[in-house]
């Protein structure tokens, strides 16, 4: 069901898209020539259709080719970008930050930076060059440098252009090309000339079609430069030992020239209930699947899922950690005897980990130190916490395996790309006797055992097994919903004043949120919030009844009084009894939607109101019962009224059964909420009995 939402529009493996053309042909003409802006770019009529834009990217062009640096391959990407600044609000487009990674001896390097701003002043084209001495490098973190520059003399109507080359040693990560951004793009083109020695997998995503997608076979030459010096033993390229002279060799090989382009790419808009825009933006990703060096056999780099499984188990920061969990033995001693039931025992182990290690908010799938260190510091990443959990579960005699996943904010995992870097989180899976799996996470004390935090609800995770062949995908569909239950007794007096008693429960994810909120605010402020949401009420009594145990719903009881409305009419009373207990605004505020609505988990809201009318009064008219259904059983709203004596009983129940609704379902969802809110706001006319 969920998989069908990931329509083929969103993901496509590129080879299917590529038209293979003949092996000859001239290289296509570059879409942009630095230093030669089009005179039309200074004419207002060229931008008539862009009234909504502050700036327009006229052309964004990247070319990647490979070269040898000594005996190591590198790739170089030239980038040329030209932007038209339409409004002052678009000035930010003139400031560019280029992140450059470095790790050990490998790095990304920026060179050849140049830029120019063109202004048309009284019919004359004025050029102002970027002064390289006014560009900066910031060492943001240990592995990240940011090269920063801003174009000079930027005004409304200016055309700016800049170009630079990034040289990278990180062959595994041929950089993504993102066609879509904060400004509309007229033309975005990326070319890559990839020698036969490198086998990249390519993945296209997004909602914008390609205007160009071609591949041409050609040839290329690469010069291998071997430095002179004393070669040591058998490690040398040529074997033997002794003094060697520097030398140059030429490699000639087949090169595939790829070309992709998009035309008139719209702006990426952030919408509510999304995972991350990264999941939807028009982009092409590359991952190195393998290398095929001259004279050598094909070497797989991009793994199979099975190989990833095996490697992870061998990894010092992952699988090898489980064998070092002996220090946990003492902690979990006796649990096996006390809790023969695996579910209960898992919950008890989880409590021990929750109490011992604090999740520090960093998401990782592997530890970057060792588990003992995190245990001693009482603090760690999601990997530290949950790998400790797995080790402890095993010490307690349970079977437990890691499940890798990517959090919602990190973006979805594509099952056809066996890539570790796409994951950033790990949880535990405990197989149960009935064939079901118990997914356990120990980062959030407000959730019960067996419920993953909402950040983990990203559809699928990868189970890592002792036998690689047994590894598989695991459904991360939430085991819990957002549940909100309210039971209200309302007494109306003949003047229109109200007295109410409310019992409220939050369960599932709503329960966890309420517990978190209570912990953050403290009980006094938490209860004061009720008054903030209902400013017409006086709340003389309020108490949180239950919140300690995460297994039971979070419960709350309070009473309130509401004085009569100033303009009540004698003899007739008007009241919307449900309105204060439902939401006052439709959460879907925009008419249309580009991307799926991703709630993470299904939702249920139940509201029971028993309204006692003043003596001698009755409803002038009973509201109509209603059932509103979403198409395909996606959800239902039920509204029901029953009068017993002087008490009118209302039942209002919302059920949204799916965690994710497609963009096509958006209109229905919006209308569904509208009808529900209208029903909840309905006004009763209460009159004196004749």
């Amino acid at each position: 069901m969920i998989a069908s939402l990931l329509s083929s529009r969103r993901w496509a493996l590129l080879p299917a898209l590529l038209a293979t053309t003949g092996a000859l042909a001239q290289a296509p003409v570059d879409p942009i020539k630095l230093g030669k802006p089009d005179p039309l770019d200074f004419k207002a009529e060229s931008f008539k259709g862009d009234s909504a834009a502050a700036a327009v990217v006229l052309c964004d062009y990247g070319v990647t080719r490979f070269r040898l640096n000594g005996t190591s391959f590198q790739f170089e990407t030239d980038r040329v970008t030209r932007v038209k600044i339409l409004k002052k609000a678009g000035y930010d487009a003139a400031t560019v930050l280029v992140p450059l990674y470095h790790r050990n001896n490998s790095e990304e390097r920026l060179s050849g930076l140049r830029g120019t701003t063109y202004n048309m002043v009284a019919g004359q084209l004025q050029k102002t060059k970027l002064d390289i001495s006014k560009t900066f490098v910031e060492d943001r973190t240990a592995n990240l440098r940011v090269r920063k520059f801003t174009l000079p003399d930027v005004r409304e109507g200016a055309v700016i252009e800049y170009a630079y080359t990034v040289t990278s040693d990180f062959l595994v990560n041929l950089q993504d090309w993102t066609f879509q951004g904060p400004y509309p793009v007229r033309w975005s083109e990326y070319r890559a000339a990839i020698p036969e020695y490198f086998d990249y997998k390519m993945l296209m995503q997004g909602y914008v079609p390609l205007a160009v997608s071609t591949r041409e076979e050609g040839g290329g030459q690469y010069t291998v430069h071997t430095a002179g010096g004393f070669a040591e033993g058998g490690g040398s390229f040529r074997g033997g030992s002794g003094r060697e002279a520097a030398s140059n060799d030429v490699l000639t090989g087949r090169v595939t020239n790829y070309r992709w382009a998009m035309k008139d790419v719209p702006v990426m808009r952030d919408e509510p209930y999304m995972t991350t825009t990264d999941d939807y933006v028009a982009r092409i990703d590359f991952e190195l699947a393998g290398t095929h060096m001259p004279g050598q056999a094909y070497q797989a780099v991009l793994d199979t899922w099975e190989k990833i499984n095996t490697d992870l188990l061998d990894d010092n920061d992952f699988g090898q950690q489980f064998g070092r969990g002996g220090f946990l033995k003492e902690q979990v001693q006796g649990l096996a005897a006390k809790y023969p039931d695996p579910t209960q025992r898992a919950a008890a182990v989880r409590q021990i980990i929750l109490a011992a290690v604090r999740y520090n908010g960093t998401n990782r799938y592997a530890t970057d130190g060792n588990l003992r260190k995190a245990y001693d510091a009482h603090s760690g990443s999601s990997a530290d916490v949950n790998l400790l959990l797995i080790a402890a579960l095993r010490q307690a005699g349970l079977t437990a395996h890691p499940v890798l996943l990517s959090t919602r904010a990190h973006g979805r995992v594509n099952q056809s790309f066996p890539l570790l870097t796409k994951f950033n989180y790990v949880v535990a899976l405990v197989p149960l006797a009935d064939g079901k799996d118990l997914l356990v996470d120990a980062t959030d004390p407000d959730l019960p055992c067996g419920t993953l935090p909402e950040r983990c609800l990203s559809q699928t995770g990868r189970l890592i097994m002792p036998q690689a062949s047994a590894s598989r995908w695991v459904d991360l569909s939430p085991s819990q919903r957002h549940v909100h239950f309210q039971q209200v007794q309302l007494a109306l007096d003949a003047q229109g004043g109200l007295a109410g008693k409310v019992h409220e429960e939050y369960a599932g994810y709503a329960g966890a949120n309420a517990r978190g909120e209570l912990a953050k605010l403290g009980e006094k402020k938490y209860l004061a919030e009720i008054g903030r949401q209902h400013t017409a009420w006086a709340v003389p009594q309020a108490a949180v009844a239950k919140h300690e145990t995460t297994e039971a719903p979070f419960a709350l009881d309070y009473s309130f009084t509401q004085p009569a409305d100033d303009n009540a009419t004698a003899g007739t009373l008007y009241l919307s009894p449900l309105r204060e207990f439902g939401s006052s605004q439709n959460p879907f505020r925009h008419e249309d939607r580009q991307y799926p609505v991703d709630f993470g988990a299904p939702q249920e809201e139940m509201l029971l109101v028993a309204l006692t009318l003043p003596d001698g009064y009755e409803l002038a008219e009973t509201p109509k019962n209603a059932i509103i259904d979403l198409p395909d059983g996606g959800g239902r709203y039920l509204f029901n009224v029953a009068t017993i004596g002087s008490t009118v009983n209302f039942t209002s129940r919302l059920a949204l059964r799916k965690p994710v609704y497609s963009a096509a379902e958006y209109t229905h969802l919006r209308e569904f909420y509208r009808l529900m809110l209208e029903k909840q706001a309905e006004k009763l006319v209460i009159k004196k009995k004749a």
């Binding site: 002052k88 400031t95 929750l354 603090s379 209208e678 309905e682």
Partner: protein, 652 residues
């Protein structure tokens, strides 16, 4: 919005430290939670067990600030205190940063390791392209509360323009068990200080030992406070001591902050000689003003030139937080920070024969006004002041030079309603920026609301906002595209379900206080569904002011409403044939110390109903006892704003 930092702000917060006890693996328990008095746990998320800060003035150009802080986190609400961040830059070095954490019984749980301290650049935070400010931070949050963290750090500062300000109770929910500040300074460099909200009975201890002067302040047993609605900021209500230099020296530039005059003099001289423009710019200015003898017209034209050809880009390195780029650099690059753009503007005006001054100011809608009685660095921004006169009376123009869109002379919420320090050749001089009153900050709205027989409605609304009421909308208008503008408005309408059928934002014509006009077309399905033969309509579609929550406990702090405003609404209610008004709400008229409110309904001969609402609220600074009256005023407004017209179906 635009954070035109003079680096200053980052260090306005005390950020240095003092090591009284280096945390070593002491076996005996420390800071047991049981020793916290019950009164301090009441309403507290965390308790400051000890805050011992020492400021040592080494010379006019160097100061060392050491901090030893011990905080017990009582519950999840106090979790943020389990972490600490220490900033540094080219002129402020961190000597050391150490930490330890203890359990509820005071047993050492963990000692912070060097490898656990993160270090990173603050990047483009605050809109700066480049800054040398970096942070180190440490996270000692624990899985179980309560726990106690202990942090020790030292900052060695070569920027003595800034002395630390000490205010231990700087957050709500934080009780203070013990806090001390000690200052040691050579007698030749006498300390300047200001005690703020300082309690009686805890006098300063001032001693002299040889050539050193010692000052010591101590606070103890301060229960936690709640931040209340419509209240002054905590910084204005809890005790603290502000420190400032007399003589100081930054990178060879010596000065004195003893008076505003001398503080201004130092700034003026630091930037003197940097207002020289290239010949091409001078020629451009001459061309622009040749037919404009009137100084005001000249200012308008040059401000227009500035706004059309420059933009705000901040580069803050070393003394660059205080010393401007030369005007010639702005002329070639077309960008600069607040100082550079202000200096450039001053140079343009000087070329045109209009004298003007750069002025330092504490900018931001929630920035405290200048404390004129304590000359010290209280600034984070620079603007330009042009002292003009009209008909013999002063008619000063103030220019925000970092905005490409702000109206000439407009300061708004960012820099209006406060004091600034003019930098003149004779030194500094404190002057007031424009004050915006009810009549300046207006929101005038006219709505036609059309109802159909099924209960759906459509509406057209035209809203003029002026002065501080338009600040957000002016930003929307100038800084976002139409699509994002509409999205913002859709997200802020307090309506159940609606569709925006028409939308536009435009600058209101005319000089004076700037304004923005918003036109809105709305479709409102199910706005007023009939209940039997009656229809209930709220004519106040867009201007309902919510009530305040009922006060829990006794109000502690003063009532503050920082902005004066005037709202005027007219709604014409049109309904279909076959309906007639059964009940119109009674008129409401209130004249109070908190403001004036009126609402009137009138059935017009053309069959429509007209609703007229007016709310005038002055800027309020009233004692805590007035709060109940204000809540009542707001409750009555809210009730009146929700009043409904009842229509009766007549054709059934």
């Amino acid at each position: 919005m635009k954070a035109k930092n003079l680096l200053a702000l980052l260090f306005a917060v005390p950020l240095s430290g003092a090591p009284r006890f280096a945390p070593v693996g002491a076996p005996e328990p420390k800071y047991s939670v049981a020793t916290i008095p019950a009164a301090l746990r009441e309403g507290a998320h965390a308790v400051l067990r000890a805050d011992d800060e020492v400021v040592t003035v080494k010379s006019a150009g160097r100061l060392v600030h050491t901090v030893h802080k011990v905080i017990t986190v009582l519950d999840a609400g106090g979790d943020a205190f389990g972490r600490t961040t220490v900033g540094y830059d080219a002129l402020n070095a961190i000597g050391y940063l150490r930490g330890a954490v203890y359990d509820a019984d005071g047993r050492l749980l963990h000692q912070l390791r060097a490898s656990e301290i993160r270090d990173q650049g603050v990047g483009d935070a605050g809109g700066s392209l480049m800054t040398d400010v970096r942070v180190r931070y440490a996270d000692l949050r624990q899985p179980q509360v309560p726990y106690t963290v202990e942090f020790d750090y030292e900052v060695v500062s070569d920027n003595t323009l800034f002395y630390p300000t000490w205010q231990p109770q700087d957050e709500e929910g934080l009780a203070v068990q013990s806090a001390t500040l000690r200052v040691s300074t050579p007698a030749a460099l006498p300390l300047r200080y200001q005690e703020r909200q300082w309690p009686a009975g805890a006098p300063l201890q001032h001693t002299r030992a040889g050539s050193q002067e010692q000052y010591a302040w101590a606070l103890a047993d301060r229960p936690a406070l709640d931040e209340e609605d419509n209240a002054p900021p905590l910084a204005d209500t809890t005790p603290g001591v502000a420190l400032a230099p007399g003589a100081f020296e930054v990178q060879g530039h010596a000065g004195s902050a003893s008076t505003w005059q001398s503080f201004g003099q130092w700034n003026y001289e630091l930037n003197a000689g940097r207002a020289v423009l290239p010949p091409a710019t001078i020629a451009k200015v001459a061309e622009l003003i040749k037919d404009a003898p009137d100084p005001r017209t000249r200012v308008a034209r040059l401000y227009n030139l500035l706004q059309g050809s420059t933009r705000y880009i901040s580069v803050q390195l070393g003394l660059g937080g205080w010393q401007t780029f030369p005007a010639s650099a702005v002329a070639t690059s077309g960008y600069g920070d607040c100082k550079a753009l202000s200096n450039y503007t001053m140079a343009l005006l000087a070329t045109a024969g209009v004298p003007a001054y750069v002025a330092l100011i504490g900018a931001g809608s929630d920035h405290a006004d200048l404390r004129p009685d304590f000359p010290s660095n209280q600034f984070n921004h620079a603007i330009v002041c042009v002292p003009l006169a009209s008909a013999g009376r002063p008619d000063t123009l103030w220019l925000e030079c970092t905005s490409q869109t702000t109206a000439l002379g407009y300061m708004g919420s960012f820099t209006g309603n406060r004091h600034a320090l003019l930098l003149t050749p004779k030194g500094g001089q404190v002057v007031a920026t424009p004050r915006y009153r009810c009549a300046d900050n207006r929101r005038e709205r006219r709505i036609d609301l059309y109802l159909d027989a099924a209960g759906a409605a459509t509406a057209t609304a035209r809203t003029l906002r002026t002065g501080q009421e338009q600040d957000t909308y002016a930003q929307l208008l100038h800084e976002l595209g139409p699509t994002e503008q509409k999205q913002y408005v859709a997200e802020h309408l307090r309506l159940s379900t609606f569709t925006i059928s028409r939308f536009g934002l435009a600058a209101a014509p005319g000089a004076g206080t700037p304004g923005v006009v918003e036109t809105l077309g709305l479709a409102l399905p199910g706005y007023a569904p009939p209940s039997g033969k009656r229809v209930f309509v709220s004519p106040n579609l867009l201007s309902r002011l919510p009530a305040l929550p009922a006060q829990v406990g006794t109000r502690q702090t003063a009532l503050w409403v920082p902005r004066a405003s005037l709202q005027a609404d007219t709604v014409q209610l049109h309904f279909p044939a076959g309906f007639q008004p059964e009940t119109l709400p009674a008129p409401v008229q209130m004249a109070t110390a908190y403001g004036n409110y009126s609402a009137q309904y009138q059935a017009l001969p053309d069959g429509t109903v007209r609703y007229v609402r007016r709310l005038e609220m002055p800027r309020l600074h009233l004692p805590a006892a007035s709060y109940a009256g204000y809540v009542d005023f707001r409750r009555k407004i809210s009730a009146a704003d929700r009043a409904q017209v009842v229509l009766l179906k007549t054709d059934v």
